[in-house]
């Protein structure tokens, strides 16, 4: 009987040497005449275990990790091909690993189980059920289902997805567009990347349903150029979806049309801002547009456009298949459903954690993360990317939902959590926030363009002990000007991490 062995092929697994492991396994299997099939699956998101090699057994899939190429010979010697767990890297049944078992995976239910570009694998695990249902419904019925789910935009702004779709449906136009924002630039985030690398058909299905819902026949995925693996896998999946009739002018014989294309960004963080992204898609400098008009009314090429984050669109197949009410039965308050959090930075067990809203940051970092990678005490946590506040220990019991975070002056953003141990210099982190804005500001508005440069200078003076009190006052004033006077969130939120350092870690700024 053929033994099925899984070696992941997402960016992190590859970055930790998965290709060499797969090649070595294949070679040893060949040398021993073992009947082995090596499948390149997506990642489970248990990144500290990558490359996580899995072997199919009668009891389920057994994991071994992290496997380095040097470990392969001893694994094979110990009976890997027979599913033996007699090796120090053996982890037992993968589904029983607490980090995975204690999650509520709706969006990432298939991640790491399947070969990401296999349509058969996708279909075997509920794939395209949502599209099949959507093809039986009219536009308003689809949107009502999404509204019932309570889904809010997962890119960071948390705007209700159903209402955005309704606006586009109600806007009369010959041509409408679905644009997927896959410019996942926040440090500490990789959930979008995982969707595209580990379960790309889910995104294709979600975008197609969105197209049916609002009457859009063209979709674009605006993907950052920093994600070469996602680019390759997403394009391969789109090609296969076209060939199988899941994309194109006659979706599954329904007579309905949806075309999809990946467009690459070019290393500009600001293009994650939706109006800047649209400018970039149109072939222009990524300058932020003033709102209104909203992109839902005047979007890509001046037409009504849905701009949604990858995770928002990826939630749609589940909602259509299992029902909006089922999705809404997860979560708390006005934050319904699940939020894929990403645990990163100085963390022992980093990776993707999909949970219903409401767990606390501390549970995430301690129960799932197991503390810091360095073993030193945890000191500060940045949640929500480079524009998110640094949280001190007193705020770690904040529940993970949009409103609770806003109440302590923080943001959940796209769900990235970056942990820092006690060797961090928070003054340096505050300076970096301003420096990042000088590099990435689109330059359209003065508070952001000039304010960030002045911010770096003032922080340098404070750190050098020059007129400290007066310069701290100036910095506070500058932050306020940027927050109130900037055109978009880039300049408007860059001060958040700076202000959090001034408030919670002032000793670092003046040492």
């Amino acid at each position: 009987m053929t033994t099925r062995i899984f070696v992941p092929c997402d960016t992190t697994a590859l970055a930790m040497g998965a290709d060499a492991v797969a090649a070595e396994l294949a070679q040893l299997a060949h040398a021993r005449g073992a009947d082995v099939e090596i499948i390149r699956n997506g990642s489970r998101g248990l990144f500290w275990l990558e490359p996580l090699v899995e072997v199919q057994t009668d009891a389920g899939r057994i994991g071994f990790g992290p496997v380095e190429v040097e470990d392969v010979a001893s694994l094979v010697e110990a009976g890997l091909f027979a599913g033996s767990t007699e090796h120090s890297l053996a982890l037992g049944l993968v589904e029983e690993i607490p980090f995975l078992k204690n999650q509520q995976r709706l969006t990432f239910a298939r991640s790491g189980i399947t070969d990401p570009v296999s349509i058969e694998d996708y279909l075997a695990l509920d794939g395209f059920n949502g599209l099949q249902k959507a093809l039986q419904l009219d536009s308003q019925q689809i949107i009502d289902e999404v509204k019932a789910s309570g889904l809010r935009g997962r890119g960071g702004a948390a705007f209700p997805t159903g209402i955005k779709w309704q606006t586009v449906l109600n806007a009369p136009a010959e041509q409408k567009y679905i644009v997927c924002n896959a410019d996942e630039g926040d440090s500490g985030t990789f959930a979008d990347r995982m969707v595209m690398e580990c379960d790309p058909y889910m995104l294709i299905e979600g975008m197609t349903v969105a197209g049916l819902a609002v009457g859009a026949t063209q979709g674009y995925i605006y993907l950052r150029s920093e994600y070469p693996v996602a680019h390759r896998l997403m394009n391969e999946a789109i090609k296969r979806a076209y060939a199988a009739g899941y994309l194109g002018e006659n979706l599954l014989g329904s007579g309905k049309q949806f075309e999809l294309e990946v467009r690459l960004g070019a290393g500009a963080y600001i293009c994650g801002e939706e109006t800047s992204l649209l400018e970039s898609l149109e072939g222009k400098r990524g300058l932020v547009r003033a709102k209104p008009p909203l992109p839902a009314i005047v979007g890509l090429f001046g037409q009504p456009t849905v701009v949604n984050n990858v995770l928002s669109l990826a939630a749609v197949p589940f909602i259509m298949d299992k029902g909006g009410d089922t999705y809404a039965s997860y979560g708390m308050g006005r934050s319904l459903g699940t939020l894929p959090m990403q645990l990163a930075g100085n963390v022992k067990q980093g990776g993707l954690i999909e949970l219903a809203f409401g767990a606390t940051l501390r549970e995430l970092m301690e129960d799932f993360g197991g503390g810091t990678y360095s073993g030193r005490p945890l000191r500060a946590v940045q949640v929500g990317g480079p524009l998110g506040a640094y949280l001190p220990e007193s705020q770690w019991d904040t529940p993970l939902d949009y409103e609770s975070f806003a109440a302590v002056g923080a943001v959940l953003g796209h769900g990235g959590v970056v942990m820092f141990d006690d060797t961090v210099d928070m003054g340096e982190q505050a300076r970096f926030s301003m420096e990042f804005c000088t590099v990435e500001s689109c330059g359209k508005c003065t508070p952001c363009r000039i304010g960030s440069t002045r911010g770096v200078e003032v922080i340098d003076r404070i750190r050098e002990g020059e007129n400290t009190d007066a310069n701290l006052e100036l910095l506070a004033d500058l932050c306020e000007t940027m927050v109130d006077g900037s055109l978009c969130a880039m300049g408007g939120m860059t001060p958040f991490p700076v202000q959090s350092v001034m408030k919670h870690f002032p000793e670092d700024l003046q040492r």
């Binding site: 590859l14 930790m16 500290w48 070019a266 290393g267 222009k284 400098r285």
Partner: protein, 163 residues
Amino acid sequence: MSGLPQWTPELIQAEIDALKHKPGALLPILHAIQDKFGYVPPEAVPQIGDALHQTRAEIHGVISFYHHFRTAAPGTHTLQICRAEACQSMGSRALEAHAKASLDIDYHGTTADREITLEPVYCLGNCACAPSVRIGDEIHGRVTPQKLDRLVSRLTTRALELK
């Protein structure tokens, strides 16, 4: 730059003609040219402008806006070091200092033997196994200064074998 063809106006025009019909064609065209020749030669600007009915200033404005596009030939290999927060928390500041010192160049610079161009990057999405670097289309995680030295020496060794 080794491995990539030298550009000619005809070759540039072929890239433009293959994509100019697309809505919002400029970024796809610039990517195609840079992927093929390693950079976007300044001489390509008027050609692109003609094809898209835009001014040279508009094309130049777009090229200069995006960090990804370059207008001069890079070294044989491009090494990007992630400067973003998750990598900072795992020692990327020391890693970038080590890279600059050992290669004897700053960011955007190319080594004297034209083997390696050093670039900053803000997040490669490998944040749970930081710090990260990218060489060509390969991403590497948990990169210590020692591991970086090994990666770099592998690159330069490989290049010598080709000669």
